[in-house]
Subunit: 168 residues, 2 copies
């Protein structure tokens, strides 16, 4: 985490929040108009879509076209709270803890996908590997950097031997 | 994105949100008590910390100990909005768009780190590779799965040739 002496809350004023609110920075347009048939991971999808960044954030897109991939954080707006804390994931028949699965039905329904950038035209980012419902609200974009983000591990718990290409 | 016919907002009721609110699921305890000296990426940190999941979410931790690493999503609670849409990142001297850098000073100040799981004891997860200020609110945990999340690419924009171990 980089923190410098820019606009910061003073430590004396710091208190732990009960509620944390965000405003969508954009909306994603995808071929997935219903909840059936959506790939369950971006790595399992060849679908294309367009992230429309709202005009007030367009200056934030400078330099993004130099990267091949982005992390996209979004809000699973179709999920109703509260969700069960344990449930069956797509790729197994036994109940798992919600923090050990990638289900959208999470206490905070935040999605994380990695998309390939195809082209950026003004406030529209054409992307590939889309696994998101059409008209999903976008919370953040971050550049994907293999030197920061790739990790070699064989310890993948209940997913061992279960990874196969699936759709919802 | 996995979506099934559980508790879902009806499509007829769906409307695009102005504001999206979450409740912290936990707090992270780290050695970084001030904003100086925090590693700028989890991959550049050997520091240890403890994610304390609030008791009401403890059932969600089932099966997580089978994984070696987790994505941790958190709230940069020290950042005051609005933030500039372009600024200088740690690793360069020229101004970049906020969505092309990993700064905490983002329109939605959501952090994303990958931590190694050392041990899970009840509602406490001891982790390594910590790059987060002490007492930061936690939003979500997801299992890290190389088959979903690792990507080979050399296209890393302005970061080309600039990745070195740094602290704030």
């Amino acid at each position: 985490m980089e923190i410098i002496n820019r606009e910061l809350t003073d430590f004396k004023e710091r208190k732990f929040p009960d509620k944390i609110c965000f405003k969508p920075i954009g909306i994603i347009h995808t071929p997935f108009k219903t909840l059936k048939g959506i790939p369950i991971q971006s790595s399992m999808s060849d679908a294309k879509g367009t992230i429309e960044i709202f005009p007030e954030y367009i200056l934030g897109l400078k330099d993004l076209s130099g990267f091949s991939h982005i992390y996209c954080l979004y809000f699973f707006d179709m999920v109703k709270l509260p969700v069960p804390l344990q449930s069956k994931p797509f790729l197994d028949d036994e109940v798992k803890g919600v923090f050990a699965i990638r289900t959208p039905f999470r206490p905070n329904p935040i999605g994380l996908s990695i998309f390939k950038i195809l082209e950026i035209k003004e406030n529209n980012i054409n992307v590939k590997n889309v696994d998101v419902l059409d008209r999903t609200p976008i919370l953040d974009l971050k550049p994907f950097v293999p030197g920061f983000d790739n990790l070699q591990t064989n310890k993948i718990g209940w997913l061992q031997g279960k990874i196969k290409r699936e759709v919802s």
